[in-house]
Symmetry: C2
Subunit: 423 residues, 2 copies
């Protein structure tokens, strides 16, 4: 963990863009530093001569010991207990669009519940023709689908409302992951139960110690919600709701109820704790926004970034990052090297899927002068990711949730990056 | 491991299709067994009341203890040592199209080499204008792409040439995985070195103790080959070639050189050990097929299957499986419940990508009578997956490699499945 994250909140430097001449220019791809002959290639290494480990060594695999630093990290001062806390996905160590299961950020309200699937049940009741209770085996008799979706916590980047705080995209933007879910369209289960005409809302409840509950409007439940039991091919991880999780594509992560045990159909929202005192946005005038479900388009540059400096010096640099939108696909990502004076269209790579992370790249030739890096996502609705100041004009600075403002990294002559704000 | 795989090879039953009336009919989806009220839902479980584990408990995650049976498995009698052996992906426990990194099958010839990436180099030499040696940091300066590809060992299903042998799709078809790779198009690296006009072949060499080498024609190297360093977002696993692997989309897995350290450009193939005495197909007349690179279209039903019986009795059953082709996308998958008398079009779900696994489903209402299950893949070239007998007519039974024949599972009245052949 970087020094800045171990201590109390600090206000980071502000930058005047006019005072800086950023040093980079778009380069024609492909390109690379010409490598020189290197004696290391002819040295005998142990692994060239000694047998490696056998196929019985790791029935379930784990990363190389040289990757031991690639882990989820929590921030001790952020919450009172680790059971009601969050750890963060190391975005700066990842590439592509799939988050491996071992690195998907966690957010619990009563710790991660370790459930025996043979004892787990899902009940559907309330305003339905026929209340139902399902075992896991019975759920396996329903048709399944597979979808890749991002899950972002509403509080992702929440610390940044008041200015640049946490020094690393893992901490500023790491409350997000993107995996392939296998599950049952929720509408199939609701059709079995038979929703009554006045059934316009759904209460989803988890089996964990916090008894997490959220109200979900019926139109969303019948649209693209899923009841998932697998992620990236294998069973859900304990910390992601094993054995059953509600998937609410594009909407804030808190609604994706983990350890899902109950779905109650009602005629109005429940206004439970996690949708009133929490997960609402307090505006400047003291009133709170009600039901801010959709996660708007957002992006962040993951490399270079405070945890991932430029270590190769002046020359070719691959700038990369991720973008996503709760409204659909990402149409375009722009990046700037000079704090917004010049914007360049980034290259998207990998499958472009609705409500999924997109990976972008921008290759440039670095001349060694300081940089002010930003990315700006545009989704298929035409919505453009705003600046933090544009958000503050509308929302004030009382908010914790739904900060999708543009992030800035300052890169100095040594290639070291820092979280800053520019104005 | 099932009993059949722990002992010597056994020849499994043969079935006459005419002697069997399979009991199943295509059902209209969605459907499900109506669940009855269940007192278990009202019982208090420990996880409803006690705090779960905190966010600092598992910096890198692992599956639930209840999933401890979901592992790669090797077959002890199959090879002389575990360092030159294989373990198998538990296909019957997976869903969707992504194989999680911890469950990707392994095949080593000298064990899995644990390489220090700071000491690893990639050399490009031979018939090039400018020999080059790259560190990992220098490779990170090249533009990257992201692609999902299946990797299938040429020997997958190899034991089945002589008849139904291994009792479970993990063992008959588990030498395959499907992940998202991040890497550099190989042509970018070759362009840097400048391939001479007579450079028509490439020798790829691994840094492991076996010094694995394969000849790759230049047209493939310049087409879609990649030099990958990440799989499913994170660094390659040790057993998959950390820190660098050659990706040869759609071609036999042995060519995807792990721990890649050397690329030599030449004017003809090298005919090394692993492309002469191994990885060639011995025909009935004693001659061997030369360079059988592409993995033809293939499929297998993963559930029900010998390791995954029907446990819910007569009623709705979700039949599922995977299909793939080294020639491109899968256009269609057909399934039969009665050994080929009636074929039904399966439902594909998830992204359809070239040279990637596809997931298929077929929901049916089981009447409790025996079933003879088969699947048949058709790829975008129009190629239809053949029966094993059709393959044997052309290839004889000396082969080990490239068995893409249709697989049959017999399911008895108790829902127990067995590997059989029908004629």
């Amino acid at each position: 963990m970087t020094e800045q994250n171990g201590g109390p909140k600090t206000s980071r430097r502000k930058f005047l863009t006019s005072a800086l001449i950023a040093g980079g220019s778009a380069a024609a791809a492909p390109f690379a530093r010409a490598a020189s002959p290197d004696p290391a290639i002819t040295e005998i290494q142990p692994w060239n001569q000694e047998l490696g480990f056998g196929v019985d060594a790791r029935p379930y695999g784990r990363p190389s010991d040289y990757e031991a630093h690639v882990v989820r990290r929590n921030v001790e001062w952020l919450t009172a207990s680790t059971e009601s806390s969050v750890n963060f996905t190391p975005l700066h160590e990842l590439d592509g669009i799939i988050t491996p299961n071992g690195l998907c950020f966690e957010r619990h309200h009563g710790g991660a519940a370790e459930i025996d699937p043979s004892k787990h049940r899902l009940m559907i009741h309330g305003l339905v023709e026929k209340p139902l209770v399902f075992t896991m085996e019975e759920l396996m008799q329903f048709p399944r689908i597979n979808r890749i979706y991002f899950l972002e916590c509403a509080a992702n980047s929440g610390m940044e409302w008041k200015g640049a705080q946490l020094n690393g995209c893992q901490f500023t933007h790491g409350m997000i992951h993107n995996v392939m879910y296998t599950g049952i369209p929720l509408k199939y289960l609701l059709e079995q139960a038979g929703v009554k005409p006045n059934g316009k809302w759904l209460l989803a409840e988890g089996a964990d110690a916090s008894g997490m509950t959220r109200s979900i409007p019926m139109f969303k439940a019948l649209d693209d919600c899923m009841v998932a039991f697998k992620m990236n091919g294998e069973a859900l991880r304990v910390e992601q709701g094993y054995p059953l999780r509600l998937i609410v594509p594009g909407w804030e992560g808190n609604m994706w109820i983990k350890w899902l045990r109950r779905l109650e159909v009602g005629d109005e929202p429940w206004h439970h704790r996690e949708e009133t005192s929490k997960y609402t946005d307090l505006m400047a005038d003291g009133r709170a926004r009600r039901f801010t479900w959709v996660m708007d388009a957002k992006s962040v540059i993951t490399n270079p970034s405070p945890q991932a400096p430029i270590i190769t010096g002046p020359g070719p640099v691959v700038l990369t990052g991720v973008a996503w939108s709760g409204h659909g696909k990402i149409k375009r990502v722009d990046v700037t090297l000079d704090g917004g004076k010049n914007w360049h269209k980034a290259r998207l790579s990998g499958p472009s899927l609705s409500k999924s992370m997109h990976r972008f790249y921008f290759e440039f030739e670095w001349d060694g002068r300081p940089l002010l890096l930003q990315s700006r996502a545009i989704d298929e609705t035409g919505y453009v990711q705003p600046t933090k100041d544009e958000l503050r004009k509308i929302r004030g600075v009382n908010s914790i949730y739904h900060n999708n403002g543009i992030q800035t990294w300052y890169v100095n002559e040594q290639g070291i990056a820092e979280n800053v704000e520019i104005s």
